[in-house]
């Protein structure tokens, strides 16, 4: 009994002690907290005095936060981020949770916010659940940008948008036209499910593009659905070969469909006669880019995405931009970007046109 009450007493003491010491340090930190806004205002008041002088650099680390660690897609983005960091002469840490889970990501972000980094660039696991955390970071004067996957506009400043609907649709018709050659010919689309909203929107854009005079020699014979199932997509591709012996190009705006179609072309020994293009990822498509079944396909470049995210975060941290629509900033090799306002997406910058992967560049990527 004696030991138990002693233990209880000690536990209470420990808890109280922790609280008191924490409060004590808060009291000593209090002046620092009131200083903080002053410090951030300082460059603003100095800026008009010396207009051409570069803004005072934020001294500290920047953090790139992926959805989770150990994912090659995000590791590629980090490569781009580190390249940008080198050019800017800053340190960018790469910190993520073990799993792609909002609860874990919030815990991680809280410990990052506690370190007062110069900026956070986040790929969000949950657009809504991360809003309070993003707001907490911005309340602590840490600029928050998102990339790859956005936090709802209230919880961040700008989102780095990888691609827009129209461009994704248009690039696929452009690639198909290049593959069909100057004489054009029959093309078919092998999509995911008939109800997939993204794919349907892209197909609408493709149909509009085909109305253009430069694509007059392309004939869309059919849209089939592989349901994002490997076997079904493979069978649908084979059915297309028998049904349309003159088929030139299959466009598959889905990563499952494009790989299955390319395999079907390879297995049916139709390489050079039927070409596959669409949206895919490098590791999955490398084999078919090299054997000629799918000489080119599109998607954005995650490396550029990470690169741009770092430039945007740096521009915000140093007061070059204040996250308002219409402002512009330089992003190294990618050139100048303008912040746009979108009713759905809020403030965002668009990375650019989708990136075309082909035999020349595919070995530069590993994701």
């Amino acid at each position: 009994m004696k030991h138990r009450s002693l233990l209880l007493a000690l536990t209470t003491l420990l808890l109280v002690g922790l609280l008191v010491s924490a409060c004590g340090s808060a009291a000593t930190k209090a002046p620092a907290a009131t200083e903080a806004p002053a410090a951030t205002e300082a460059p603003a008041t100095e800026a008009p005095a010396a207009t051409e002088a570069p803004a005072t650099a934020c001294e500290g680390d920047y953090v790139l936060v992926p959805k989770n660690l150990g994912n090659p897609y995000f590791d590629t983005a980090n490569n781009g981020a580190q390249e940008a960091a080198k050019e800017l002469g800053i340190t960018v840490l790469y910190q993520g949770s073990a799993t792609a889970d909002a609860t874990e990501q919030i815990t991680l972000l809280n410990s990052l916010i506690a370190q007062q980094p110069c900026g956070l660039a986040i790929s969000a696991n949950d657009a809504d659940a991360l809003v309070p955390t993003g707001q907490a970071a911005m309340d602590a004067n840490i600029p928050v940008v998102t990339w790859d996957s956005a936090i709802a506009p209230d919880g961040r400043t700008i989102h780095i948008n990888q691609a827009i609907l129209h461009d994704i649709g248009a690039i696929q018709i452009q690639m198909a036209s290049e593959l069909a050659g100057p004489d054009g010919g029959q093309i078919a689309i092998l999509s995911a499910t008939s109800t997939a909203p993204n794919q349907n929107a892209w197909i609408e854009v493709m149909k509009e593009e085909l109305e253009k005079p430069e694509y007059a020699n392309l004939e869309l014979v059919e849209v089939v659905y592989g349901d994002d199932d490997d076997t079904k997509s493979y069978n649908e591709a084979q059915a297309l070969f028998t049904k349309y012996p003159d088929l030139k190009v299959i466009i598959a705006p889905t990563t499952v469909g494009i790989a299955a179609s390319a395999r079907a072309v390879t297995d049916a020994e139709l390489i050079g006669k039927v070409f596959v293009t669409g949206l895919g990822t490098p590791n999955q498509m490398r084999e078919y880019v090299k054997n000629g079944a799918a000489p080119q396909f599109a998607l954005w470049n995650p490396s550029d995405l990470g690169y741009l995210a770092v430039y945007a975060m740096h521009a915000l941290a140093n007061g070059e931009i204040t996250a308002e629509a219409g402002q512009t900033f330089e992003a190294g090799k990618l050139g100048e970007y303008t912040i746009e306002d979108d009713p759905d997406l809020g403030l965002n910058v668009l990375l650019g046109l989708p990136f075309v992967y082909n035999a020349e560049n595919i070995d530069d990527f590993n994701w």
């Binding site: 009994m1 030991h3 138990r4 233990l7 209880l8 000690l10 536990t11 420990l14 808890l15 922790l18 010491s21 924490a22 409060c23 340090s25 808060a26 930190k29 680390d61 660690l69 150990g70 840490l93 910190q95 993520g96 949770s97 073990a98 799993t99 889970d101 909002a102 609860t103 874990e104 919030i106 815990t107 991680l108 809280n110 410990s111 990052l112 916010i113 506690a114 370190q115 007062q116 949950d126 657009a127 809504d128 659940a129 809003v131 309070p132 907490a136 709802a152």
Partner: protein, 374 residues
């Protein structure tokens, strides 16, 4: 070992029971937790200037409260049934999704919250009846409802998120007690921990739980309503899961059907690390609260040092293994007097310990540049 009956037999027991070595006093796992917490606090304060910052601790502490709320009834369930309630996180998800679904259909948020609490309680009651009345294994029953309740969450919300909760509601998860830095959820947890602690250690009901955990048949024949105790425990577990769901939804300001996925294992880890015997019959609420504090401080401290999530998992896992190994080894040593030491099992324990420590050292050594953020 503190349950000495205050009767005359006490002196008899004192006389005939083997003398407790002075080591036995320190065998209490709670002391080790206290020591570890002190070490963690001192180490982290030295390693990072941001550690002992009230605002940081305040912000981070609410990350662990849903876990804590579910851990309290989990301790009771482990003590009584020597098994676990695997369905808590799924129940949390179902209740939070139900509340979000009602809210999106125009129901007042507080009515929706009450309905969610009722649903969680009902779900726990179902678990309890399957376990106690039909005499099914708690592990299997809750493994089933683990999938079932999460499934309901997905049926309710699909790929949608419920959002736009009013400020008065999100206060539960994001707000602080006025005039202080203490998050409301932390205050809620502390109050409930005291209530659960008093029930476990100061009431007849608490005695029943220990008694059932130690010897269910003997307890049953002593006239204790074993089945009813179990049903009550699982029902309370369901209620607390629903409450944790409300707190988590309020903290997120939104609900998705995958909310809180995987939390059940963290809950069980916290309870077992707190010294609740997975074989039933032993455990304290003080221990579990200390273990939650330790896990929280360690995770926060490691986060401040930018140690990767995977490595944090290794550290917590190692600690859990130690929490089972160390008392075992200590018992071997303390019972050495008079009884032959079971060298074999002691050596195996030490061997496993050594393997873990070596692996841990190797891991840090090989990944030092990564961990250092290079």
């Amino acid at each position: 070992m503190t349950q000495t009956p205050e009767t005359q037999s006490a002196s008899l027991i004192k006389e005939f029971a083997p003398r407790r070595s002075f080591l036995a006093d320190f065998q209490r796992w709670e002391w080790l937790l206290v020591l570890l917490i002190v070490v963690v606090i001192v180490a982290n304060t030295r390693l990072s200037p941001h550690f002992l910052d009230a605002r940081n601790i305040s912000r981070t502490s609410s990350d662990f409260m849903e876990l804590g709320l579910m851990m309290l009834p989990m301790a009771f369930i482990i003590i009584t049934t020597a098994s676990v309630d695997l369905s808590v996180a799924s129940n949390l998800g179902m209740c939070a999704s139900f509340m979000g679904w009602l809210f999106m259909h125009g129901v007042n948020i507080w009515v929706a919250a009450l309905a969610a609490l009722a649903l969680g309680t009902l779900a726990g009651f179902l678990n309890g009846n399957l376990v106690a009345r039909l005499k099914l294994s708690p592990l299997v029953v809750t493994l089933g409802t683990y999938a079932f309740y999460r499934g309901v969450a997905y049926v309710l919300l699909g790929d949608q998120a419920a959002r736009g909760y009013p400020k008065a509601f999100t206060y539960i998860g994001q707000g602080r007690i006025p005039g202080t830095l203490i998050p409301f959820s932390v205050a809620l947890f502390v109050v409930l921990a005291i209530i659960f602690g008093l029930i476990l250690h100061r009431t007849i009901f608490g005695r029943y739980t220990f008694s059932i955990g130690n010897n269910e048949n003997a307890t049953l024949y002593s006239g204790v309503p074993v089945a009813r105790v179990k049903i009550i425990l699982f029902t309370v577990s369901g209620f607390m899961a629903a409450l944790a769901g409300l707190v988590l939804a309020a903290r997120f300001g939104s609900t998705r059907p995958d909310i809180g996925t995987g939390l059940e294992l963290a809950v069980i880890t916290a309870a077992v690390l707190g010294g609740v015997d997975i074989n039933g019959g032993r455990g304290t609420i003080v221990g579990t609260v200390l273990s939650l504090l330790l896990i929280g401080l360690m995770r926060f401290g490691m986060g401040l040092l930018n140690i990767q999530g995977q490595v944090q998992g290794i550290v917590i896992g190692l600690l859990l293994i130690l929490s089972i190994l160390l008392p075992n080894i200590a018992q071997q040593i303390s019972s050495a007097r008079g009884v032959r030491i079971n060298w074999r099992s002691a050596l195996i324990s030490l061997g496993i310990l050594a393997v873990f420590v070596l692996f841990f050292l190797f891991f840090f050594w090989s990944r030092a540049p990564v961990i250092a953020g290079g």
